[in-house]
């Protein structure tokens, strides 16, 4: 037996009868209860199990450049130069680098790499590996998911210099924090880095692959890890489960130590299980996306900014949180940053938070002023057009479906009719991208760093949108166009002076708070459940030292190297 057995044994009567031989063999081994050890020379052999949302068969792929790489590839096996914490406003944490510096016009980035780091095969890590990684990405368009246009050179063993074609301050987080560095001595011999599955990955991360099967894989501690005394646990197992019910069952049975799912009745479940705890790190803003531009082909009343403003004022977020958010959601900001974390980036304090309750009077007034008058059935009209809007979401997203139902009732008060539909995920993504919707529910997602530039660029820049019928590629799907915003973005892009940027964001915020192409509802809960029976030191609500969601790349490595075996 290779691994130790500290898990509760579950030998059923039927099974015992069926497999008396096997059962005997297994229970004989279970008697040891975690005594045997084959890795860490006498240390406690703690093994934890992670469910990161994988379903069905797992395909082996530890290629850090691949879009379908298994999630622990990034952060747990391969490390970036810096780590950007999406859960706090701290500056980036140095991992494989120690510092970085830009030249004045943003075309040259000099990186000092960490000394004394070793690859898991014992070879030393140097700046040459960094240069090799970025050159490989730059030369291979299939791998270049970040639009990198730079050549890299290692001027000595601990200095790498990236030279960009143009001002590239905004490439900073994707270069420093979103690219796993690979060893040159291995990857220079890999024939096709695109289809390489890298079954035996050599990285610098805290763990390395021990065993892989299509149902589960096991990582073990990297004894050569550069940070003294870390990681403290020996093995991490990743498993695949098909449904949320199966995941809940596995958590309660003690078979999973770490997972991120929304569990109905979480408080009650945890109250009965002492070993279980959870943390809530709201980070994604649930918003109503509106197809906003008549010019680009959007049809319906939502192309009128007054209607969008009335929806913004007319929904009761406190009630929505109670009905759909399970009470776990946090307050959003009309500027679409996270108020708790990014308050410094909000120019006008007025725009820090969304109203908690419905502002029915205000909403009615906005609509009156815009010429929407009440019809006989209470729904407003203008030039014969009823103020009736279709709102889409994915069938199976139960919280979003409840949101839609609750909002339709709330908005009836101000004379707006919402007609919710639930469709399949594929159809919904497609509709969102080609603009085939009036309103749709979606989350404003995570960005490379906490600088609001990335959100504003992605969702508001008119360069990132397309006419209705063509795919907007998951970017400016609201089809928002505003020359003032575009201008401010181009100024913010050309500098790394945060004061200048903040001033520009102020201009953008004023425009988007008025136009409201994305109407924020609340910052959705992100619940992560832990079992503290085997390991402790998980992120908590008081100390969210990393975004604890199991599906989040990079942060996983930080969490796994910081948790410690339970005494």
């Amino acid at each position: 037996m290779s691994s130790t057995l500290s898990r509760p044994r579950r030998l059923g009567l039927a099974a015992a009868a069926l497999l008396s031989l096997t059962s005997l063999a297994l229970s004989g081994c279970a008697g040891g209860g975690g005594a045997s050890n084959d890795a860490g020379g006498g240390a406690d052999n703690t093994s934890i199990t992670v469910f990161n949302g994988a379903t069905g068969t797992i395909a082996e792929n530890f290629n850090p450049f691949s879009s379908t790489a298994l999630q622990p590839t990034l952060g747990v096996i391969f490390e970036p130069l810096f780590w950007y914490n999406a859960a706090s406003d701290d500056p980036p944490t140095p991992l494989l680098a120690e510092s970085f510096e830009w030249n004045d016009d943003g075309t040259q980035l000099t990186i000092k790499t960490r000394d004394g780091v070793k690859w898991s095969d014992g070879e030393p890590f140097t700046a040459k590996d960094v240069a090799f990684t970025f050159n490989l990405v730059n030369e291979t368009p299939e791998l270049n998911t970040t639009g990198l246009a730079a050549t890299a050179e290692a001027t000595d063993d601990t200095t790498a210099v990236l030279t960009f074609e143009e001002n590239s301050f905004m490439q900073e987080p994707s270069v420093l924090g979103n690219r796993g560095i690979v060893p040159e001595h291995i990857w220079k011999d890999i024939a096709d880095p695109i289809t390489e599955t890298n079954p035996d990955p050599i990285g610098t991360g805290p763990f390395k692959v021990k065993d892989f099967t299509a149902q589960s894989y096991l990582l073990e501690k990297n004894d050569l890890y550069w940070e003294e005394g870390k990681p403290a646990i020996n093995e991490v197992r990743y498993i695949s489960l098909d449904t949320a019910d199966a995941a809940t069952g596995a958590l309660l049975a003690g078979e999973v130590d770490w997972m991120s799912s929304f569990l109905p009745g979480l408080e009650k479940i945890l109250a009965d299980n002492e070993g279980l705890s959870y943390v809530n790190t709201p980070a994604l803003t649930a918003s109503i996306f509106t197809c906003s531009s008549e010019k680009l082909g959007c049809k319906g009343p939502q192309t009128d900014p007054a209607v969008r403003q009335a929806i913004y004022q007319g929904i009761d977020r406190e009630q929505l949180n109670a009905l759909a958010g399970g009470g776990f959601a946090a307050t959003a900001s009309p500027t679409l940053v996270i108020p708790d974390r990014d308050a410094d980036w909000i120019a006008d304090p007025e725009n820090t938070e969304t109203p908690a309750n419905a502002n029915v009077e205000e909403a009615r007034k906005v609509l009156e002023d815009a010429g929407w008058v009440e019809g006989s059935d209470g729904i407003r009209e203008k030039d014969g057009e009823r103020l009736s809007l279709g709102i889409q979401t994915v069938s199976g997203y139960s919280d979003f479906i409840s949101l839609n139902d609750a909002m339709s009732q709330q908005l009836r008060e101000v004379g707006i009719e919402l007609k919710p539909t639930a469709i399949t995920y594929n159809e919904w993504v497609n509709n969102l991208n080609i603009g085939e919707y009036q309103l749709t529910l979606e989350s404003i997602g995570l960005q490379p760093s906490n600088n609001p530039y990335y959100a504003y660029e992605k969702w508001y820049n008119s360069a990132n949108t397309t006419p209705v019928g063509e795919s907007a590629l998951n970017n400016n799907t609201a089809r928002y166009t505003n020359p003032k915003v575009d201008e401010a973005l181009s100024v913010a892009r050309s500098t790394n002076d945060e004061a200048v940027q903040k001033e520009q964001y102020g201009i953008i915020q004023e425009e988007i708070v008025r136009d409201m192409p994305y109407i924020p509802i609340y910052v959705n809960s992100m619940l992560t459940e832990f079992n503290t029976d085997r390991a402790t030191g998980w992120p908590t609500n008081e100390d969210p030292y990393a975004l604890p969601a199991t599906w989040k790349s990079w942060d996983n490595g930080i969490v796994l190297k910081n948790i410690t075996p339970t005494e």
Binding site: A15, L19, T22, A59, E60
Partner: protein, 329 residues
């Protein structure tokens, strides 16, 4: 011989029709693989606008080529058994994914179907032989279990036997913590232990049909003259029951059995979802979720082949075991 050739020709045409539907159906789904992959990537972390181009290049999704050209390429590749590369599991090939998942499904659902058939036919034979016995009265109960929606029955059994009483594991194909796949006792034992509950739910929910069908055929066979003759000859009752009555009564069930074997591959989706079983059904769900055309085509191909194959087998076998169905030659 002519009969067999005729049959084969018919199956060939059916196979081609299935392949064609197989090609066009997935493409009628809304959305495309690249958008779905980007949306999924965006859930895991930041995705830059440039990512799309890279993903398109990576997957080689050549959406420019007209459908008819793609269709030609698809048929051509099938003959060389090249099913393409999966998008959801990139860069794994479709053949790899099928090879990984098919054994689980055939093992679980196949064995469960065989058990269910043998159990149902045997019980049905006994029930028909002794009408009005307690076994005969059991039939309505089993058909009721069959009419309960399968996923519901499976969830209840999982909750009671797996959750409340801890008799069986809750999910998975084997104990991933303590065993690793291979021809060793531990692993095989674990597979049997983990497969017992899913197999049990399949047997419970399908045994009623076999039992009812067999029992009714048995009753009508027993009223035939040759049974009376056999009894008059003074043969042992057991012999009359098995070689005289059951042998003839089982014929329709055999045909049904062959067809249900064909559906083994297709019918596993719900079972595998409930028990997180690593078979072909969960791979199919994944493929549909990612608009993974190649994988869907590959899986449908396997399903088509198994259904057609089972039908062909029963056609040929039937003419052998029941001479009455042979075409006049």
């Amino acid at each position: 011989m002519k009969y067999i050739l005729q049959k084969l020709g018919f199956y060939l045409v059916a196979f081609w029709a299935a392949l064609t539907v197989n090609f066009f159906l997935p493409r009628l789904l809304p959305g495309n693989p690249v958008d779905i992959m980007l949306a999924k990537l965006a859930q895991r972390g930041p995705v830059t606008p440039e990512a799309r181009e890279a993903v398109e290049l990576l997957l080689g999704t050549n959406t420019e080529a007209p459908l008819i050209v793609q269709y030609g390429q698809y048929l051509g590749k099938l003959f060389t058994l090249d099913l393409g590369t999966s998008v959801a599991f990139f860069p794994a090939s479709v053949t790899d994914i099928i090879a990984q998942t098919l054994p689980w499904t055939i093992g679980l659902i196949g064995v469960a179907t065989v058990i269910s058939f043998i159990l149902g036919v045997t019980l049905g034979m006994l029930a028909g032989w002794k009408r009005g016995s307690w076994l005969d009265n059991l039939i309505p109960v089993t058909t009721m279990l069959q009419s309960v929606p399968y996923f519901w029955l499976a969830l209840i059994l999982l909750f009671v036997l797996g959750g409340m009483w801890d008799l069986f594991p809750l999910n998975g194909g084997y104990n991933v913590y303590e065993t690793s796949p291979g021809w060793n006792l531990e692993f095989i034992g674990s597979v049997i232990y983990y497969g017992t509950l899913p197999a049990l739910t399949i047997v419970i929910s399908s045994v009623g049909g076999w039992m009812l069908g067999m029992r009714n055929m048995m009753v009508s066979t027993l009223s035939d003259d040759y049974i009376l003759t056999a009894e008059a000859k003074g043969l042992r009752p057991v012999r009359i029951m098995t070689t005289y009555a059951a042998r003839n009564a089982v014929l329709p069930s055999v045909a049904g059995f062959a067809i249900s074997l064909g559906f083994v591959v297709a019918g596993s989706i719900v079972t595998e979802a409930v028990f997180s079983y690593p078979g072909i059904g969960s791979a199919l769900l994944n493929a549909v979720g990612s608009n993974d055309y190649s994988l869907m085509q590959g899986l449908f191909l396997v399903i088509t082949l198994s259904v057609l194959g089972a039908n062909l087998l029963v056609d040929l076998l039937y003419s052998f075991i029941d001479p009455r169905t042979r075409a006049r030659s």
